[in-house]
Symmetry: C2
Subunit: 335 residues, 2 copies
C-alpha cells in the first residue's frame, strides 16, 4: 500500500480481532453494549454483531439512523438526551427497537410526543454532565409511566473515573458511583443498569451492560491504563520535507486528521514537535541530533484520542501482515 493517499487510518486487523474477542469473552452478548460513537462505522458494528453483541448504544441521531438502515436495529439505545424525536420515531416505525435516555420532564415530554416508547432514566453519578439527581429518578420514572412510556431501567456514566490510574482506587470510586445508580434503580425499576466504558469494563460489576467502544482501537491516553487491549489504529502519514540539517522531518498529517483534545499524537523513533492543519513536525529521539526518516517514508502516528480521530476520516483500512484485507467505511459521521 505504498501508493495509498496519505493521511489514512490503518488498522492492524489481528490486534483489532484480539481486542474484540478479549472483550467478548469478558462481557459476552448483551452484557456489552458497544458504543457506536467510538468507531462510527456500520462495518465495525457488523463485526461486533457477528460476535454476539446485538445491542448497541449511540451518541447521535445520525448514528441511530445509520445503524437502523444497516439492519443493526435489534436494540438501539441513544445514550443521550434529545429534544427532536421525529427522526427517531421514523426509524422506530420502520421496525427498529429504539430506547432513549431521559433526565428531565422536558426530555420525557419530547420522547412521549414522538413515536418512541422505551426509555432509560439517566442518572448523574458524579461526572457533572447529563443525568438527573438520584432522588429525582423515581419521580421522573413515575412521570414517564404516566405518559405511557416503557421504562427499561437506568443509565449512569462514570466518565470521570475512566482515567483513574490506580485500579484499586478506581474500583472503590466506581463502587461509590454505582451505589448512587443502584439507589436510583431501586426507585425506577426495569431490567437494565447501563454504565461503564473501556476504562472500567472489568471493575464495574454492578452494571447489567457496559457501554464501551474505544477498546477496539485504543489510543495513547487509554494505553496509560493497565488494560488487556492494545493500540491497533494509526494515522498513516508520509514524509514530505526534511530540514536541511536533518534536525526535523515533516509529515502530511495534521490536526485535520487527528483528534487533538488529548494533545499531540506520538511517533515511534522520534518526538512530535507541533501539528498544523495538514502537517506534523517530527524531531529526532532524545539524545540524537538528526532524524533518520527520508522523504517519501510512510510514518504511523499514534493518536492521543481515537474517537474524534476516526470521526475525521471517511474509511479505515484493515491490514494483516502489511496486506490490505478490508476497507471499513466510516458512514455515521455528522448529526
Amino acid at each position: 500500500m505504498e501508493n495509498q493517499t496519505t493521511p489514512y487510518l490503518k488498522v492492524d486487523l489481528p490486534t483489532f480481532e484480539s481486542n474484540l474477542s478479549r472483550m467478548s469473552e469478558a462481557l459476552p452478548g448483551v452484557s456489552l453494549r458497544p458504543h457506536v460513537k467510538a468507531f462510527k462505522s456500520t462495518s465495525v458494528a457488523k463485526r461486533l454483531h457477528k460476535a454476539g453483541h446485538i445491542a448497541f448504544c449511540c451518541a447521535t441521531i445520525k448514528e441511530m439512523e445509520g445503524m437502523a438502515a444497516a439492519g443493526l436495529s435489534d436494540d438501539l439505545l441513544l445514550a443521550n438526551e434529545v429534544l427532536d424525536t421525529k427522526r427517531l420515531s421514523t426509524i422506530a416505525e420502520n421496525g427498529a427497537n429504539v430506547t432513549v435516555a431521559v433526565d428531565s420532564k422536558e426530555t420525557i415530554d419530547a420522547v412521549a410526543s414522538g413515536g418512541v416508547s422505551n426509555i432509560l432514566i439517566d442518572v448523574n453519578v458524579g461526572l457533572r454532565r447529563c443525568g438527573c439527581a438520584v432522588p429525582e429518578a423515581g419521580n421522573l420514572g413515575e412521570y414517564a409511566r404516566n405518559k405511557g412510556l416503557n421504562i427499561r431501567g437506568v443509565m449512569g456514566y462514570e466518565g470521570h473515573l475512566m482515567m483513574v490510574k490506580n485500579r484499586s482506587t478506581q474500583a472503590e470510586e466506581v463502587k461509590s458511583a454505582m451505589a448512587l445508580l443502584m439507589l436510583a434503580h431501586k426507585d425506577v425499576g426495569g431490567q437494565i443498569i447501563s454504565a461503564g466504558g473501556t476504562g472500567t469494563f472489568d471493575i464495574n460489576i454492578w452494571a447489567t451492560e457496559i457501554q464501551a467502544g474505544s477498546y477496539l482501537f485504543m489510543d495513547t491516553e487509554y494505553a496509560k491504563l493497565d488494560l488487556p487491549f492494545s493500540q491497533c489504529l494509526t494515522v498513516m502519514s508520509r514524509v514530505i520535507s526534511i530540514a536541511p540539517d536533518k534536525s526535523w522531518a515533516v509529515v502530511d498529517a495534521g490536526i485535520k486528521a487527528l483528534g487533538m483534545d488529548h494533545g499531540n499524537p506520538s511517533v515511534s523513533g522520534g518526538v512530535v514537535g507541533f501539528c498544523s492543519d495538514e502537517h506534523t513536525t517530527l524531531y529526532p529521539p532524545e539524545g540524537q541530533s538528526k532524524v533518520t526518516w527520508k522523504i517519501g517514508d510512510l510514518v504511523p502516528l499514534l493518536p492521543a484520542h481515537v474517537d474524534p480521530t476516526i470521526a475525521k476520516h471517511s474509511r479505515m483500512l484493515a491490514f494483516e501482515d502489511e496486506r490490505l484485507v478490508e476497507e471499513w467505511v466510516i458512514d455515521l459521521k455528522g448529526w
Copy 2:
C-alpha cells in the same frame, strides 16, 4: 431556524461580507491568494472569485481537485509539498492552471515526472516546518529549470509570527523573515513572492500576494489580535440538560463539532466547563451560582480555531437578521 438539527455552523452574513470586503480593499485581486484550507467550500470560494480574487491556494490535492471541478481554476497553488502528482496532472490536463510548492530535489522530481509544469520554491523563513534553507533555494531553482519546470517565484510562510501580539514587534520580525525570502527570491527569480496570513496581512509588505483565509470567519484566538475583522461563525448548540441545582447546563455540541487544538470554545453569558464527544458543559458567569439557560435554548459557541472547526461539518448556514439566506456546502474535506 429553531428546528434546525444541532449542532450546526451559523455564519452572520453581513459580518462575513464586511470581512471579505475589508480584505479586498486592502489586498485587491491577485494581491490576495485566499487560502481554501480555511473554509473548504467552493461556495465560499465563488464569492471570493466574484470579488476579484481569481488566484487561490490549497493545502491538499482534494482541495485542488474540488476547486478545479467547480471551475475556479485560473490559478491554483498547492502551497504544500507533495510526492504523488498524478491527480494534479489530471486536473492540469483538463485545463486548470496548477502550481505546486517544492523544497527538495525529491519534490521537484515528483512534479517533473508528472504533468505539472509550474512551481514555487518554498523557503523556510523561521517556522521550522517545510521550506528549503535560503542558500539552497538558488540550487533548487537551477535543478528545476534543468528539468524543464517553470519557476513562478518563491513562497515562505511566516506562520510562527501570526500570533505576535505587539504589532510593532511583529512588523520587525516579519521584516526579518521576509528579508530571508527576498534573498532566496534574488537567487530563484520569478514574479511571485507568496507569504503571509490573516495575522500579518497588512504588515507583510514584501510579499506580492498574501495567503489568508481565516479572516473571513475569525475565531477567539485571532480575536486576541488587533485586526479589522470580526468573528462571524458560531457552532450552534442546544441545551439538552440542566443540573438539578442549575449549577451547570449541557449543550449538544462537543469535540466532534469543534476544532480543539487551540482549546475550548467560549460562550456568551457563561463559562465553558469541559467538552466531551457530543457535549459541552456550561457554568454560570463568574460571581453567579445558577445558569439562566433553559432546556431547548439555542446557544452559540465561539470556536477557538475556525479552520479545523469548519472541517468537521458538511455545511455552513448563512443568516441575515436571523433569517437563513444561504447554505454553503463544505465540499473539500478529506484527502
